[in-house]
Symmetry: C2
Subunit: 583 residues, 2 copies
């Protein structure tokens, strides 16, 4: 494929002299490059296809890097990357992996922040604007935020304070009437009103927060966009430019099914059908969602919550319909989901909040204060909390254990396999005395007949899966299997290790640990950073015992696009490494 | 003092038959009781004085406990407590301590949640409403939230989703045009517009989120309030009742100086003058604020941020004026403050966010993602992060270490004394490579000449304050002094302990730790929960060494209104206890 216009763009400066026709050609080439790369490589589809014209117009009108453009989530920044010296990563398959899927300061001075969570752009941009004002600068500061991100409380906080800066501050609201899935909240009726009235209706959320306001009806029309951005360039006060774009524009399948094409793997360009969709492999999102539907059928008090990521917890549109009003989506608003769940538990329901490990971070205070302090029996099941989860530095699943297992009253459970996961979920939903976090195992769904299932997981009781002597392996959650293989290697060497499934990582089974005091050595394994984790608790508890304790876990680092096997080898988390340590 | 009408109220049912005159008398008695208790005992002054009539009207119109009333922060709930069987705790000095300062389910079935952080009431109430709808109930659900709490992003999230419930949901917005200090944000211009137009102006923030709306101009007038609440009782859709109240009403000094009388100790009822204001004792808020003003004078890039609690970090109105535009108050919006600080650091400023330990919990994700992942040199200084901090179960300062010291890239410093605190702050502000948390020591300001000050705290280097042999005490932060006293006791017994000030709690000084491998025993001390903390890291690092490690810290519990000395004794954190352990 040829990209004659795009290939001439080395930086946004190269846009400035282009004619309207050339700009339109450029947009067509960018969209073709996106379709070509995305269909072969996967990535964020809808968000990038919808923003081609807006980003071309932004770079045509504003003067980055002097002018500062902050992308919210930054999963829509592919066009920006193409215009800032990185086109080859989209036009040449050999270079597809030269760039990450988000803005990344290590890649380019045009990328201001490494961002992957929603709703932060306005706050970040307001800090840049404040710095400019104090240091006497005159550049434009632009935040680009999607309608879906507006439901996150931080976006409100940023808008509320940003409007009081009293100086140049431009917020571009990219409204495609979608979040990852559909939007949720009263705000979206207001956005609809504004779209339906060409921006002239009242009430106007943005005006209510102190912004002057401009609406662009055709947010994929270059001329409209350029006119709007020119009108606000060098403005001396905060303004919102609300642009109405089409998510997935240019790929009919994506235009028609925006949720399915928000993010995805390689697909057929003509039909949109996934390329590698042989037999659908059951994963833990299916296991969870199907199980919960069955539980909900039996128990009318059970409800499932998500904060804007129903797909990430297996609740496809069909399953959402099956769950009916007992499936609650707060939109991207983790704080609200946690506390609303707390209120639901107080009101007699049994709420289960399915949440991506890295997004639960948004709601630490709500888990601690509204739920744990109040001892409300809300259930959290964490997805992608594993080295086998998402491997972007912004979405690591390494931290949820240290984050939530150290909150008083929280029972944090790490199941090893499918059956244990469901047994723990069943107990968590049935009991009414404590908040429970059940981590979803990482990797492929597997069963393990050696795992004993309990009716009650309220107190820490480790399962001794194999009784040995002198050395023990305490292998939690996903890493239990690694521990078992280490035990097998040791057995080949004549060493009979005690193999333990600790089940609960928030408190210690001191009775079992006391039985290990005079062992020669034990190894703890956890699928999370070692710092603040289970293994360190064990080491502290046995700190006055003769036994040597080796704590193995993931590194306290933001690693980016890592390979799990390499990362684990580096940490010594391999059957061979563990066997070596204990020999 | 006599309270003939109030003393007849055992539950809200006793209000129902009262005449308007009796209700007015009741309000007068309640206000007298509040003034009498507050002036003698201290507490939240302004918030409670302003809400007397509104809470009487709520309980007169609604039927708690069947109808559910959720108080935001719940520091304004004293009148509610008086009307729900707990009047004696306000009228009889011998019973003043029978109740806590917040709603507390252990006290009364009328108190739904233990709450002390802001902006959660709407989420919690929406969960109660959702439970009601699913379970087929018909009670009213009412959230009572102050204007200051509206700046917190969670309040927006709750409002946004609450409006889509499609059923009875009543949000009472208590607007006294104040937060703890003045409000910040564009929203407050909108609230002013609504007040100035008797609720009829546009834009209307609440309508923009999908609420029907009702304004009460005289929020301290019983008749207006009763009329408004009657009008919305049993309503079939979400509604905001915006009431304009007078913070501090009935105490002229509090009406005149709302910030000073938000919360306070005993005061003279006539003048408002503090009763125990002998010589003003310098505390760490003064130390911090005065030092920062001096630093800001030398360095024009330094800025200080607060999220709505300027007083809690020493920035009195006078000091705020002195700092000028380089003092930034985001209002109650910790997430925004952290990320705005990140943006300021990216833009070349040196931001220092002064924050109460327990409120930093709101912004874990922003510290991790926007600041730490981006390695932005933002500085956080944590107040009341100590056993000597606030002792309400909702405001414990036990958790910030495990929370932030386990975030990659964060340097977490625990100074032992005034001079070390300032040296660490100076380094943190001067360097430009990492985010730094500097914990403010707990307790009284003290100096310690044995503490060596460094120019550079970027890598963990423990100070060996006294070199001994066989046993060591690693005593962090506020507890260093306890460690020193333990070392002195041991010396009296002929044991020469090595006394160490670890300085940094996020990473280990492995060289110093290696020198302790063949010791007999060491004790670690930290002014934070032991779980997830520094001592457990030490125990894990030395897990394969002969030395015995004892990890001492605060309990992983939500303890309420504790006495520091008792709690410490229970944990063995006394000079005597430590000496005993090491003998």
């Amino acid at each position: 494929m040829e990209f004659p216009t795009l290939s001439k763009i080395n930086s946004p400066a190269d846009l400035k002299g282009m004619t309207p026709d050339e700009l339109r050609t450029l947009c067509a080439e960018i969209r073709a490059a996106l379709l070509s790369k995305l269909s072969a490589h996967g990535g964020h589809i809808g968000p990038n296809l919808g923003m081609v014209e807006a980003i071309v117009a932004l770079h045509y009108v504003f003067d980055a890097p002097e002018d500062k453009i902050v992308f919210d989530v930054s999963h829509q920044s592919y066009t920006h990357k193409m215009l800032t010296g990185r086109a080859r990563a989209f036009t040449d398959p050999a270079h597809y992996d030269d760039v990450t899927g988000y803005t990344q300061p290590r890649e380019s001075e045009y990328d201001l922040f490494s961002v992957g969570h929603t709703s932060t752009s306005v706050s970040l941009a307001s800090g840049l604007a404040k710095a400019r004002d104090i240091m006497g600068g005159h550049e434009n500061v632009v935040a680009v935020i999607g309608d879906g991100s507006l439901s996150g409380g931080q976006a409100f906080e940023g808008l509320n304070i940003g409007s009081t800066l009293g100086s140049n501050f431009i917020v571009v609201v990219n409204d495609n009437d979608m979040s990852i899935a559909e939007n949720h909240g009263g705000l979206y009726a207001d956005l609809r009103l504004l779209r339906n009235t060409n921006g002239e209706g009242e009430p106007n959320y943005f005006r209510s927060l102190g912004y002057s306001y401009r609406y662009v009806r055709y947010g994929n029309d270059l001329r409209s966009l350029i006119e709007a951005f020119r009108a606000v360039k060098d403005i001396d006060h905060p303004v919102v430019v609300h642009i109405n774009t089409m998510k997935g524009l240019g790929l009919p399948a994506a235009e028609a099914n925006k949720e399915a094409f928000h993010y995805g793997g390689p697909f057929d360009l003509k039909t949109g059908a996934p390329l590698h969709a042989s037999a659908h492999q059951e994963d833990y999102t299916d296991v969870f969602a199907d199980h919960m539907l069955a539980v909900m059928e039996r128990n009318p008090r059970v409800a499932v919550l998500t904060a804007g990521t129903p797909g990430a917890i297996g609740f496809t549109p069909e399953r959402r319909r099956a769950a009916g009003r007992r499936f609650v989506d707060t939109g991207i608003a983790e704080q609200d989901a946690v506390s609303m769940g707390g209120g639901m538990a107080k009101g007699g329901l049994r709420p289960v909040f399915g949440v991506v490990s890295s997004f639960l971070q948004r709601a630490y205070d709500q888990v601690a204060q509204d739920v744990a302090l109040n001892r409300l029996p809300a259930v959290f099941t964490v997805f992608y909390g594993s080295v086998y989860g998402m491997n972007d530095e912004t979405h690591l699943g390494f931290f949820d254990e240290a984050l939530t297992a150290n909150i008083p009253n929280v029972v944090y459970l790490a199941p090893t396999c499918r059956e244990e996961y469901l047994a723990m979920l069943d107990w968590a939903v049935a009991q009414t005395s404590v908040p429970v976090v059940v981590r979803t195992p990482g990797g492929a769904v597997r069963s393990d007949r050696s795992i004993e299932l309990l009716e009650d997981y309220s107190t820490a009781r480790y399962q001794i899966v194999e009784q040995g002597e002198n050395v023990a392996i305490l292998a939690a959650g996903t890493f239990f299997e690694t521990g078992r293989r280490a035990a097998e290697l040791l057995k080949q060497e004549g060493v009979q290790a005690t193999l333990i499934n600790p089940r609960c990582l928030s408190t210690l089974d001191t009775e079992t640990l006391d039985s290990l005091r005079d062992y020669k050595a034990i190894v703890t394994l956890e699928d999370a950073i070692a710092d603040g984790g289970f293994g360190q608790k064990v080491a502290a508890y046995l700190g006055d015992a003769p036994v040597k304790v080796h704590v193995l876990g993931l590194p306290k680092q933001f690693v980016n696009n890592y390979k799990a096997s390499e990362l684990l080898a580096k940490q010594g988390i391999t059957a061979e490494g563990i066997a070596e340590l204990l020999k």
